[in-house]
Structures are given as structure tokens and as C-alpha cells.
Symmetry: C2
Subunit: 319 residues, 2 copies
């Protein structure tokens, strides 16, 4: 977690998970404007790009420039995603604070999405651990593992909890600093989310930080946030205006909406450090640069409740 005085950390992933699914190139300056304006709204953490071969995902061909600009923002925790050592080397050379190593719990999804087995992914991850550990202690990046398809996979259907726990254990033993449990295709149900997050936090919460990455593909994204919150999770990914989608379900909604997430958390009396009202005008950057993408989010349509945030005499809920 970044070092701000907050109860729960939100991480903006629109510049990575949102942009990943669209074909239009968002100009580098506009990406940087997005970062600057979210930082001004109080966003503590952004996953700003993916370090992948530009041939595969040209949306991220400007990843180094975007990451460098992000690192200039005072107080912003900058993370970047990569599936392999090569991307990690680039990210490390630039100096990002956190490298998120993608892998899938589902064997079929691992093959389809990453063209490698889960065992090969783990072996590659260990090479990134070696890279981290080769650096002087003060210069090391934080290393996170992202566990795609933790609640199910469009190929295999339901993914058993034991498979997730085994994957996480493998990464913890290999030296991961943080794990992000991801519901890649929106299969998660709040009851199951609470159960799995409770198990992950009980088993590994002393060693690593546990984050959540939910998609709203089937409407349960924010219910799943609340369930994970109840289980003790204190870090959540989301994207502005819910930018993103589901590669397996055209027209479906994607990432949970940052504005609605912040409203949920602040309404629960948890300090996120973010001013939700300052997030709203930033939606214009998406509308301007990606005019074909729908702007999701209900808070943006309805506005703040009268008198919100409730003061301490009306809001009786404490963390």
C-alpha cells in the first residue's frame, strides 16, 4: 500500500485493464492528463500501463513514457503489469514502484491468454523474483502476483478454491510481496468472495498484502467488494467510468466503476483519500478520447445524496 493515511486503498486500473480491450490509441498526453487529474482528486495508486510487446498490444507502445510521467506525480504509487521477465526488466529500469506479474489459476486460461502452462508462469515469476532480489535493498520494486480467473474461467467454468490457494501458496513461497485475487470474467458471488478472501487472508495475510480485482460483468462487482471488505481486504482495483470490458462477452460491462467504489467505501465511513466529486469531470477524458466506449457508473448519473458525506453524529458505522 502507498503510505497515505487512508483506511482502504483504491487503485485506478483504467489505463491498463480499461485500455487493454479497446483498439483506439489514446494519445500519450491524454493518458498523462488522466493520471495528473486523478492524482489531484486524491487517487493514491494507479496501474498505469502494461509492459508487453507493442506488436501484441499497440495501446501500450508508449508505456515507458506514461510510467515516467506517472513517477513524477507527488505521492502516487505507480504500478505496471507485465507477464514476463522482459517486461519486468523494462519496468524496473524505469523505476516503477510495483510490478504486477499476471498469471492464471485456470490451466486453460493460462494457455489461451498467456500461451504457457501455470508451471511455466511460476518459473517465469521466479526469474522476476531473482531480478528483484539482485537489487540493493532500498532499490527493490514491490512484486505483486495477479491471479486471474480466481472465481471461474470461460473455458473451465468454476475454479475450486483449493486451486487458488495452491497458486497463491506457490507465489508466496517464491517471494511475492502482494497478491491480487482477480475475478477476470465476473463469475464471483459475494458469499464465495467472502469465503475465499477469508481463507487467503487467514493463510497468507501475515506474509503478503491481499488485494481484490473485480469485474462487474454480471452485476455483482460492488457486492463482491463489500464481501471482500468484510473478509478484511483493504485494497481494491477499479476503473474510471468502468472502462474496460470482457473479452469473452461482447457488450458486457468490465471493471467495477471507481466512482461507485469510492462512494461505497466513503459511505461505509472508510477514508480512501479520494474526492469522488473531483473524479466525475475526469470522465470527460474517456468520452473525448474513446467516444465509442460507454461511460458506466450510477453515482455519476445520480449525484451525491443530500448532505453526503454524513457527519459522525449521523453515520454510526466505524471500521
Amino acid at each position: 500500500m502507498s503510505n497515505k493515511n487512508i483506511d482502504v486503498e483504491c487503485r485506478e486500473v483504467g489505463l491498463r485493464d480499461g485500455i487493454q480491450i479497446v483498439k483506439t490509441f489514446v494519445p500519450t498526453d491524454e493518458k498523462i492528463r488522466w493520471i495528473r487529474e486523478e492524482v489531484a482528486a486524491g487517487m493514491p495508486n494507479m496501474q498505469v500501463c502494461s509492459f508487453v510487446p507493442p506488436k501484441l498490444l499497440p495501446q501500450f507502445s508508449d508505456a515507458p513514457d506514461v510510467a515516467l510521467a506517472a513517477l513524477e506525480q507527488d505521492g502516487l504509487w505507480v504500478s505496471a503489469l507485465t507477464p514476463n521477465l522482459r517486461g519486468a526488466q523494462t519496468a524496473q529500469a524505469i523505476g516503477v514502484h510495483e510490478i504486477d506479474f499476471m498469471n492464471s489459476v485456470s490451466e486453460t486460461h493460462s494457455q489461451s491468454n498467456g500461451r504457457r502452462s501455470t508451471a511455466e508462469a511460476l518459473a517465469e515469476f521466479k526469474r522476476v523474483v531473482e531480478l528483484r532480489d539482485s537489487l540493493p535493498e532500498g532499490k527493490r520494486f514491490k512484486l505483486a502476483g495477479g491471479f486471474a480467473t480466481s472465481f471461474g474461467c470461460s473455458f473451465e467454468g468454476h475454479v475450486p478454491h483449493n486451486a487458488v490457494l495452491q497458486s497463491v501458496e506457490n507465489f508466496v513461497k517464491a517471494g511475492v510481496d502482494e497478491v491480487v485475487i482477480a475475478d477476470t470474467v465476473g463469475y464471483g458471488n459475494p458469499r464465495e468472495v467472502k469465503e475465499l478472501f477469508t481463507k487467503v487472508i487467514e493463510n497468507f495475510g501475515d506474509d503478503v498484502m491481499v488485494g481484490a480485482h473485480f469485474h462487474d460483468t454480471r452485476g455483482l462487482g460492488l457486492a463482491n467488494v463489500y464481501a471482500a471488505l468484510e473478509a478484511g481486504c483493504r485494497r481494491f482495483d477499479a476503473s474510471l467510468a468502468g472502462l474496460g470490458g470482457c473479452p469473452f462477452a461482447p457488450n458486457a460491462t468490465g471493471n467495477i466503476v471507481m466512482e461507485d467504489l469510492v462512494f461505497l467505501l466513503e459511505g461505509a465511513g472508510l477514508n480512501t483519500g479520494i474526492d469522488v466529486e473531483k473524479l466525475l469531470p475526469i470522465r470527460e477524458i474517456i468520452a473525448t478520447n474513446l467516444p465509442d466506449e460507454p461511460l458506466h457508473g450510477t453515482y455519476a448519473k445520480a449525484g451525491a445524496p443530500k448532505g453526503f458525506p454524513w457527519n459522525s453524529s449521523t453515520a454510526s458505522i466505524q471500521d
Copy 2:
């Protein structure tokens, strides 16, 4: 609750709360078709109309015909809403199973919405209790109290829990059979929902059934369902395709979406008696008769997860 063998009871309120906000008249035959098709999908309970002066809400001018047709559906629990004795008399004469008496916790909303004080509403409710109690025991309707603005009000802002608990106590003392805690304008937060439902169920759950009526105005509708579920609530209102809106926020979403609600509950291993796939084609009735109304719902866009519902060997969650 209706007498079906289910774990959680969903109630369709689109024909009342959904239609209430639209100006277009949905033909009586189409309303009846909607009822028939939802019953065929397994819907156990529908609030089919509002008994109010047709001059005020012409959408409900055919309420008696709609209610009579609903009562012909085998196994359907038929409820109707009314704000006063006169509507209750009409509903009783027709023979609906349950009369839902509307009132507001917020004094300002009570005046604005019902043109009466909360004390006057309670006095009118007592007249409906007298009507019920004047009937032979086997012929009595169930009498529910609907508590609008239980989480906040567009005039007064946050509504304190003690005000809700006092209103519920007044109605319980007066003889209500069931209470429905309603988040009329989507102010509720899941943490607060869990806290308030826990208090209501602890204080009154032995005497009356406690239901929940959530709106998705600010995106937290299904998170609030899960929170109420955790507090022990087992009856939820929702509307097909989320038909409805918020009179205080144009363009805002309204009732939670029935299809998504059923997906949440069935995914949690709770039997609703409803086949969510059979609900989907019924959305066409709304699209045809109310072409200007948006069809909400993410499940309808994304479809079922592969292999859903999970069988008992994969789904480890029990009620």
C-alpha cells in the same frame, strides 16, 4: 412469504414501482402477460399494482383487472400497494393476499409524497388494521408496512436508524404482519444496511417478517442485498430489467434488477424457485410496451457463467 419451498423470496415490483414512474399506459393484457410469464419462470410473489386514485396515477386505472388476473395464477402470492384505507378496501374486496401500506420515515417526504404527517399515516394504517381484523380469521389479508426513506431522503438527507426503529415499532404495536425497509432514493450503504437490518430483525423479527426494497440509484443495490442477506433478511423486492427510476434524479437507475438479484442469490446456493434464463425473454414485454425505458441488467448482457449453476461438489457455500 408464499408457501413455496424456497430459501429466499424474490418479489417482482415492476408492475407497481416500475410502472409508477412512466407516463405511458401499459395495456392491461400486456401486464397480465407479464404476470403469467414470470409465474411460469417461477416467480413466487408479485406486487401487481397500486390502489390509488386513477386521476393521480392513471397507470393504475386497471388495477382491479390486473389484480384479479394475478389471483388466477396458481401459486402466486399477490400483493398490492396502497397509501390509505380506501385503496385497502378495494384491494380487500378483490381478494389480494397482501396489502402493502406505504408510509415514510422522513417527515418531509411523508408530507411531500403523501400530503400527510407520519402521525396521520400511522392513524390511517390503524384503520386498515381494523379492516383486516373485522374479517373472519381465514379471510384476512396479510398487512405489510412499507417504510420509505429508511436510509435517507432527498429533502432531509440521512435518516437516523432510531427514527426507522421507532416507525417500525409503531407499526408492529399497531398490528402489522410484515415490514419492508425501503431505500427509496438509493442512499443506503452496505455497512449501514447490515447494521439497520440486524437491529430491525433482532428487535422485531420474532413478530413480523422483514423484507428489503433497494434501489440501485447509486450502484449499491446488490451490495445492499448481500448485506441484508447477511443480517438475516430473506425477502427482496426487485423489478425485471430494473424498470423504474428515481423521481428525484432524472436518468438515474431505479429498482434493483430482478435477473441480477436471482443470479446473486442462486449463486450463493440459495433456492429462489426462479429460473433466471426464463426471465430473460420476458424483458421483451417491457421493450415492446415501454420503448423509451432503458433495459438495465448486466446478467442479461453477459449470460450465464459456463457450467452455472455450479454443482454441489464445486460450490462449497451453504446457507
